[in-house]
């Protein structure tokens, strides 16, 4: 057996023995996932056990280096782990903005001390992070942001407001874009990390059309931030921010964990009665399976340093538009049952809430229109885009 085959066999045995049965059921929605943090809430003992066991092996972040809490796996080994987890239906043990967004940025831009400190916390699920990018006046045009950090020698004093900050009310720390020079738009932003428990930080949840309140307005009133809590150079935070957005877009695209099952296959009787709906389902299956291949290719290419650096924008555009289409068809197939907001017809409202939630996919992390702008400019090299 080659080394990789041995690794595959051992991985399968380990997963069989260590992944609790409850953790082989699909995650129902965001609240069903494990987010870790200082004051974690676990839905079941199995959830905690699974996270701890995986963290112990470094497999919450399989391809990060071992000194930072990772598993130190090669691209080929991580792919095998993903494939074997998918075969058994193992859930991702830890959902985390630290893993998806901040971690990759720290790996590239952080100091060694920052990597050792923050990455280990992320890998073990000890600190839950939120993202302070958007402001009321700065959404797609993010670089116009106004939150200001005044230089006070060994620290900054931060004042301003963020908005749409996902899980700000539950997060322990924030990675935040702060203007540190008012004279240079792009080269006047710094990437700061600070504790949400710092005096002067307040959050106010915003209710969404789905009825949930996963995001907040976040206010900073004279918040002190020590100088060693900057990632990258002073005033060069935009480079860090953009790099992080690539990883965020990859995550939102669903590459690597796109839905597996065929929606049409769940509604065979209806498919026989409604040929037009069946045709849409068939086309959804085509795009879903094609996009899964794309996700695999994208990850393989990125790990091998072959892909276009702006490719996450394409992934996000396609993946989120596809996810919205899928949710529309869930509703169409569900008919009036799927309209029920709380009762059994729709799984206690899961279907309509999920349908509404997907509408944010093509807004959060950069809108579809912005993705198309970036593809046009950076990949197709079109003029003046």
């Amino acid at each position: 057996m080659s080394d990789l085959e041995t690794f595959r066999a051992e991985t399968r045995v380990w997963l069989e023995a260590n992944c609790p049965p409850e953790m082989r059921e699909p995650v129902r929605d965001e609240t069903d996932a494990c987010w870790g943090g200082r004051n974690p809430t676990y839905k079941s003992p199995a959830q905690k056990l699974w996270m701890d066991r995986m963290a112990e092996k470094g497999w919450t972040v399989p391809d990060w280096p071992k000194p930072y809490g990772g598993g130190g796996l090669s691209p080929a080994e991580s792919k095998i782990l993903r494939e074997e987890m998918a075969k058994l239906g193992c859930r991702s043990p830890l959902s985390s903005f630290g893993i998806w967004m901040l971690g990759p940025a720290l790996l590239k831009f952080g100091t060694e001390a920052q990597k050792i400190h923050y990455l280990n916390q992320i890998a073990k699920g000890e600190i839950r992070w939120c993202q302070g990018y958007s402001e009321p006046g700065s959404g797609s045009d993010l670089v116009s942001l106004q939150t200001f950090g005044e230089d006070k020698g060994d620290h900054w004093i931060v004042n301003g407001q963020k908005i749409w900050t996902s899980y700000a009310d539950k997060a322990d720390w924030i990675f935040c874009l702060v203007r540190t020079d008012k004279h240079d738009k792009y080269k006047g932003i710094s990437f700061l990390l600070f504790d949400m428990a710092t005096p002067g930080v307040t959050t106010k949840p915003i209710k969404l059309i789905s009825g949930n309140s996963p995001f907040c307005e976040t206010f900073f009133d004279n918040v002190p931030v020590p100088k060693d809590q900057i990632v990258g150079e002073l005033n060069r935070g935009w480079d860090v921010a953009k790099y992080l957005l690539g990883h965020e877009r990859e995550m939102i695209s669903g590459a690597g964990n796109a839905p597996v099952g065929s929606l049409g296959a769940l509604h065979k009787e209806l498919m026989a009665q409604d040929p037009l709906l069946r045709a849409e389902m068939a086309k959804l299956d085509v795009d879903t399976l094609a996009f899964r291949a794309m996700g695999e290719k994208f990850i393989d290419e990125m790990k091998a340093g072959k892909g276009h650096p702006a490719q996450p924008n394409m992934m996000k555009y396609f993946g989120t538009e596809l996810n919205k289409r899928r949710a529309e068809l869930v509703m169409a197939a569900g008919g009036s049952d799927a309209l029920e907001w709380e009762s059994d017809g729709s799984g206690g409202g899961a279907k309509p809430r999920q349908w509404l939630r997907t509408k944010a996919n093509s807004i959060e992390g950069g809108t579809s229109e912005v993705m198309l702008n970036v593809i046009a400019k950076r990949i197709l090299d079109l003029p003046g885009a």
């Binding site: 291949a293 290719k297 702008n373 593809i375 197709l380 003029p383 003046g384």
Partner: protein, 378 residues
Amino acid sequence: MPLYYDDDQAMLRDSASAFMKTEAPTTHFREFRDRNCSDGFSHDLWKQFAEMGFSGMLIPEDQGGLGMGHVEAGIVLEEIGRNLSPSPFLTTSVIGVEALKAADAATRGKWLPGIIAGETVIGIAVDEGAKHRPEQIAMTAERSGNGFRLTGKKQFVVQGAAADLLIVAARTAGAPGETDGLTLFAVDKDAAHLSMEAARLVDSSMGAHVNFDGVEVDADAVIGDVDNGWAVLTRMLDAGRIGAASEAIGVGAAAMDMTVDYLKQRKQFGRLIGEFQALQHRAAHLYAEMEVARAAVLKAQQLLDAGDPKAELMIAVAKAKAGQAVSLAVKEGVQMHGGIGMTDEYDIGLYMKRDRALAEFLGDANFHADRVARLQGY
């Protein structure tokens, strides 16, 4: 296995690309079209394919070929698509060879050397109506003497007029609509009572209507098992479907490149038209569709080469997705070129025509989306 070309495959792509660009670019295509050549391709070029090792690339090494897989054949086909290089490669070296793999040693010994040498051409006789519906085959093959007598009509037999050998699917039992009862035959083009009417298609490629008026063949003309030909027929068609998808990807990629270049050159209202966001977004959307289609095609080819049973589903996905994405590429291409896109002098229209034929070949996007649904159980 990672989902990108390894070093050998990347080298093959470079040499196939250089070869098609120099030996069979669109000017070569136009020359044959304008000459109204009844074969529709150059026999000299077909010999050059052999010198490059392309014509026998899918034939196992112990039978004189290169023993390569469908990923490699797809690489050659994509370059054919990009350059609109007219050749019998898809029907002969991909589909025909896949069928002959199931034939007995004598049949293989008779035809494979000519394929490897770039001398033999194969035509595929499956379709009987205007749409690809292989289970609807009605043509009969009745037992007669020690062999069979074939009676019926075939159409859309690509390269039929130039073919030396026809691979024919006929019914030895059962009724149209049934997958049981089909048998595959290797029929010499010169057989008695076989007549052919060549038809030039919209893309200037040559299709043919073939009439079998009681054509007698020996029992050893049978490929695979009598009455149980569906599996080998499907394997052969699937090889052709994924090959056609690769060629289509080449067609779409060339059309997209040409269009994006044009957006960077043409000025209106004092600006490059590529500065208009309405066009930028359409071009970017097209890019995403083409990328996803390309990934589906490569994934299907890898599964097919690995002998994975999921290949059948993924081939249907790939042919459907490529059909839809490439059709978008050529239509957007013509539209974004404006008036010049309607001229014969400009190549973009040639790509639109080629896509139309490839899209129809061995099942269009709807046929394959329907197949995906069936394979998923609805």
